[in-house]
Amino acid sequence: MTDRRPAWKRRHFEERFFKTLMRVSFLAVAGSLGAILLTVIVKGLPALSLAMLTQTPKGGYYLGKEGGILNAILGSLLLAGCATVLALLIGLPMALYLEIYAPRSRWAGSVRLALDVMWGIPSIVYGAFGFTLMLLVGLRASLLGGILALTLLELPIMTRAMDEVIKMIPKDLEESAFALGTTRYEVAVKVIVRQALPGIITGALLAFGRGIGDAAAVLFTAGYTDRLPTSLFRPVASLPLAVFFQLGTPYPEVRQRAYAAALILTIIVLGVSLGSRLLAARLSRNVVK
């Protein structure tokens, strides 16, 4: 059967059809974000209380009905905070090298490829690898192990983010500094870092958000405990694992803690994501345009 309608009518219909389809797709994507946030808020808000935020679980995280999730909140902040600092210490010099010391070199290309590939490695594999290394040196599931696993996970995210930011800085700035007789180190540390500061902070916060939300990497390496973190060599609790373990319990009171942990985790992650954006806008005052 051939379409007898004029060609332009068919084309007009096609245009409208696909445009509608695209709008619907976009709404579906945005709608799923809304649905997820709604679920977490509806479930988590009633569970949130002062006791939840200021107490550790009493009588076991899986069975004990009393207490809160302070152990997981502190543990997560420590794990992701230390990992972010470590990753920044390794990642920033790397990004500077890629952009200032050896730009457009073959080596820089392969390092970027390696970072992109690392970015895609599943966090459970980082966990398994970290666990293997820890067995090798005789380290048990601990805060230190978790920090190291998260550092590996955060490193590619942060380095690539900073790399892209430094790339956007106009070459003139670097060249004028060189023309004044500075060394590459001075250009990198005194000019480029200052100029890229908003981007560096955004990258660090992005990596922090990824690190604090990751469960699979800390499952093997950091373990879980009801106590507050005290030592680098003791197991430490974390929010994602608090959600995971406590959601599977038969007690509704304990499940409340899972919902509360999920809400806090979501607030932290979304706050970091939005906050980094605002902070970057404020900090860019010092940036030469």
Partner: protein
């Protein structure tokens, strides 16, 4: 960068030693930073080697074929058949991609070609937040919203109308199923696919669109016949990257997929993906011989597949953005 104000002979030596210090600083930092940049390659290689070494014992006693096609998983009896887990992973991932790819591509095209700037600035944080939400939170959403919905309404409805199709027959009322895992995964990979496809589409020069529109095409025709062909490799890379993300995702899937070590025969059956296998058994694996070698083998399989996919997509993307912009 100490300012030099005087040029008297007395300060000359000071200036020279200052220069020497700065040279040394520069040289030391060069070598130090260079050494740091070797880390990503070293870490990736070390991961491969470590997981290979740790999974060696299982390969010594079993052939690779035996492991890949074996149906029974009984670590106590020394039987390590990975088949149900591999098939479980493939089912969940493939179905997730089927669900995620069309809306993701439509959204990317919409944002890149049609949307007003205000819509675009609104869409950016939506995608960022979707990408930032931790996987356990996706898991909670799955357990609280998706699983009951699939179990109570989607499965019976689809079963009533399409039950004659073998893959859609439902005899699992719980909702913890391949489909639930795929739905959650689909939402998780959406921001990845959209963000990369969007970048690739934006890199296509406007001249191409204008040339097509000047020939009297509609916007959709210009997109289909001028923009998309140019952007195709990059869009394909975005999809591959989404696939590899879904392939390695652990916690969210683990929470909703049911974890039954049996090859699924319908999208409403439970499954047990490789990632869930590793995560669920980390505690007990040390006490049973070969168990940890088998789990490390599963991690190695994941790593190899993801490495291959990521390298392919990274190489395509590099060329694609350059070519599209040229």
């Amino acid at each position: 960068m100490r300012p030099v104000t005087t040029a008297s002979p007395a300060s000359r030596t000071g200036r020279e030693s200052d220069l020497a210090r700065r040279r040394l600083q520069d040289r030391v930092s060069t070598w130090l930073f260079l050494a740091l940049t070797a880390l990503p390659l070293t870490i990736t290689a070390a991961m491969l080697l470590a997981l290979m070494a740790r999974s060696q014992p299982i390969l010594a006693g079993h052939t690779i074929r035996e492991l890949l096609t074996g149906q029974t998983w009984q670590p106590m009896q020394g039987q390590f058949g990975f088949y149900p887990f591999i098939v479980g992973t493939l089912w969940v991932t493939a179905l997730a991609m089927l669900i995620a790819v069309p809306p993701s591509l439509f959204t990317a095209v919409y944002l890149a070609e049609y949307a007003r700037p205000t819509t675009r600035t609104l869409a950016k944080p939506v995608l960022d937040l979707l990408a930032a939400i931790p996987s356990v939170v996706y898991g909670i959403w799955g357990v609280v919203a998706i699983v009951p919905w699939v179990g109570a309404s989607l499965a019976p409805t689809l079963n009533r109308w399409f039950g004659f199709i073998p893959f859609v027959a439902a005899n699992n009322p719980t909702g913890f199923s391949v489909l639930s895992g795929s739905l959650v995964l689909a939402v998780m990979v959406t921001p990845v696919i959209i963000a990369i496809s969007y970048e690739v589409l934006r890199a296509v020069p406007d001249g191409l669109r204008e040339a097509a529109l000047a020939m009297g095409t509609t916007r959709w025709q210009a997109i289909m016949h001028a923009v998309l062909p140019k952007a195709l490799p990059g869009v394909a890379a975005a999809v591959v990257l989404g696939f590899s993300r879904a392939f390695g995702e652990t916690m969210a899937v683990l929470m909703v997929v049911g974890n039954v070590a049996k090859t699924p025969s319908s999208i409403f059956d439970p499954a047990y993906p490789l990632t869930a296998l590793i995560a669920n058994n980390y505690g007990e694996m040390m006490s049973i011989p070969l168990y940890d070698a088998a789990l490390m083998g599963a991690a190695l399989t994941l790593l190899l597949v993801v490495l291959a996919f990521n390298i392919i997509s990274a190489v395509i993307l590099r060329g694609a953005v350059r070519r599209a912009a040229a």
